[in-house]
């Protein structure tokens, strides 16, 4: 498809217009955190950021979501589902986080069961990606099949080049949007910008400091469920805080419960959950199939590097590096992947 240009001086105008026409979700600074929130205009948007503390996954799977409300008096029961989904633009998401959304699709838009809450948001949202300008020390998207300027999953991808944004149109949805804003997202000769983007991508790809190679790791794990490695010192230090799962853009597990709002009324909510908590698999009868951190850690990492691949043919990690950055005891998925290769080969 075509490519276009936005002058940096006009990006505020574009954001203001998008905020008027759409439910605009964009990166903002909230106290010390960079995260994605609904914004009312360009003044709230943080364009100069490296990687947000929390991924924009909440755009499609909100941290807390009402699935319906009920009124139950004991004899009569009424169930009301929320109606309508707003037209939304997710602006400024990084390529790794957008790739992560693609790992959600087969889960929620499954062959067997769909998910109306997810699909309606997914359909009504235009994703405008923003290429990375920098590679952080925790980044390893290249090892998971992505890249700092990767277009995968975006409807439009913006890349900052000099005083311009180079705009690549990836999908029909993206095309419709640029056509509607063609006064700002202008048609111009983009041949030089395309070259500049390739140069940038090449330059950034040489800046990764973390060396990870996923080749063959799944195959090694296929026949190595029981490894003493999972009970080793590196894993024992896990304090089970669940941070890795909350900041992870591919973690999609949720809990469902009722929140009482009155004598007879309440909401059924689904909220992010974490496989790192013992209660996650604790059965009412007292049995817990993953009773200690060893099993829980193994399950989390096996999910990322094997189970998601087995099930959906996609690796369940995009290399955003958040878990590496945020883990309070420095558990590092890149080290685990490299260790596993060695451990399993010698097993």
């Amino acid at each position: 498809m075509e490519s276009r240009v936005v002058n940096k001086g006009q990006i505020s105008e574009l954001l203001d217009k998008l905020a008027k026409d759409y439910n605009l979700i964009a990166p903002i600074k909230e106290e010390t955190m960079t995260l994605f929130r609904r914004v009312s205009g360009a003044q709230d948007v943080l364009l100069d950021y490296n990687n947000s503390d929390i991924s924009p996954k909440g755009c499609f799977l909100p941290q807390n979501e009402k699935t319906f409300s009920y009124m139950y008096t004991g004899d009569t029961l009424e169930i009301n589902k929320p109606v309508g989904t707003q037209k939304t633009v997710l602006f400024g998401a990084r390529p790794c986080d957008i790739k992560a959304i693609l790992t959600f699709d087969p889960v929620f838009d499954g062959v067997k069961f769909g998910d109306e809450y997810y699909s309606s948001k997914r359909e009504s949202t235009v994703i405008i990606g923003l290429s990375c300008a920098k590679v952080l020390s925790t980044c390893f998207c290249y090892a998971m099949g992505g890249g700092p300027c990767d277009t995968t999953g975006s409807d439009l991808l913006l890349t900052e080049i000099g005083d311009k944004y180079y705009v690549e149109v990836i999908t029909e949805k993206g095309q419709a949007l640029v056509d509607a804003y063609s006064q700002i997202i202008a048609k111009q000769d983009t041949a030089q910008l395309a070259k500049d983007k390739d140069e940038l991508a090449k330059k950034l790809s040489g800046e990764f400091v973390r060396k990870v190679d996923l080749t063959g790791v799944k195959e090694l794990m296929d026949n190595n469920f029981e490894l003493p490695y999972w009970a080793g010192d590196d894993q024992k230090k896990c304090i089970g805080c669940g941070t890795c799962t909350y900041v992870c853009p591919t973690c999609h597990c949720f809990d469902i419960f009722d929140y009482t709002t009155g004598d007879f009324t309440g909401d059924r909510l689904r909220c992010w959950d974490s496989c790192m908590f013992p209660e996650y698999t604790l059965e009412a009868g007292g049995h817990n199939p993953r009773p200690s951190r060893k099993e829980r850690i193994r399950n989390r990492f096996m999910h990322k590097i094997k189970y998601h691949l087995d099930r959906y043919n996609m690796v369940g990690c995009v290399g955003c590096g958040r878990c590496v950055n945020k883990c309070p005891v420095n558990i590092d998925i890149t080290k685990i992947i490299n260790d596993l290769k060695e451990v399993a080969q010698n097993a």
Binding site: L77, G110, F113, F254, R270, D273, Y280, A284, D310
Partner: protein, 280 residues
């Protein structure tokens, strides 16, 4: 078939409550919308999510066979928060039900064969749907001898007492073997744990499928006995349970390796189980 994609349950009314044991009740439930009841299409071995509004949802197996009529039975032991709320409910009160979920028992492949059911404790509930299915007037001719070996902790803990004592023995070509863990006054049957009792009854593997359900320890020891008796992995069927929230393969927690119990199970053959990590 009702839309099983939604996380929204259908309103249903409790029409009957049978007290099975001190901590276990069987609830008969009918959907308020007759069309949903008519088209629910549940298969033996499938499960539902039951809602007690204000408390949440839990996965409960359907204990009734679809051959018995347009209603659902759920046998529920009071063990946690939601089941405690259910146990306080009365006939006429409303709950939410969504489903049916899971693969159910492979009753087609069992045709023409003898069936040997092994149940321990409350695990008679999930296999009862298949027992009643194969013993129904409609399908009885498709299956050979049907035997049921069931063990409970005590006399009071024996579930479906009238099924075991009257209804099932009255059907031709059936065999019922019951045991309780410790001797009690008034109990004339076998005393002892299920695995050694299986060895005593000694079912032969020829043209037979064994369906085994129970707490993890019973499954583990029971399977060892069955293998000793000569049953092949393909001849042994079991049904698993794990904590679930969505029952749609999305909430994440009921995975055993790459499989989700809720959509790929809950029914697995021993041959399939051996391909999966022992984490259930």
């Amino acid at each position: 078939m009702p839309n099983p994609t939604a996380l929204t349950p259908y309103p249903a009314t409790i029409t009957k409550i049978d007290v099975e044991a001190g901590d276990t009740k069987t609830f008969t439930v009918v959907f308020d919308d007759p069309e949903i009841m008519e088209n629910f299409g549940n298969q033996p071995g499938q499960v539902c999510m039951l809602s007690a509004f204000g408390e949440g949802e839990s996965t409960i197996s359907i204990t009734s066979s679809p051959t018995r009529g347009k209603f659902l039975e759920f046998c529920v032991r009071r063990v946690g928060r939601l089941t405690s709320v259910l146990h306080q409910m009365e006939v006429g009160q409303k709950i939410g039900v969504r489903g049916p979920y899971g693969n159910g028992f492979p009753y087609e492949m069992m045709k023409g064969k003898d069936l040997f059911f092994i149940g321990g404790g409350s695990a008679l509930a999930p296999i009862r749907s298949l027992i009643d299915f194969v013993l129904s007037d409609q399908y009885r001719k498709d299956y050979g001898k049907v035997e049921i070996l069931y063990g409970a902790r005590s006399m009071d803990d024996v579930l479906f007492k009238s099924d075991l004592a009257e209804r099932w023995p009255a059907i031709a070509n059936t065999g019922i073997y019951t045991t309780i863990d410790r001797a009690e006054e008034g109990w004339n049957g076998h005393v002892g744990f299920v695995p050694p009792f299986i060895e005593e009854v000694a079912p032969t593997p020829e043209n037979k499928i064994a369906i085994i359900a129970g707490p993890p320890i019973l499954i583990k020891l029971g399977l060892a006995v069955m293998e000793k008796l000569g049953f092949k992995d393909e001849q042994i069927i079991t049904t698993l349970e794990m904590r679930m929230k969505c029952c749609l393969g999305k909430c994440g927690r009921c995975n055993v390796g790459s499989k989700f119990i809720c959509v790929d199970g809950p029914v697995f053959s021993l041959a399939q189980l051996k391909q999966m990590p022992p984490e259930y």
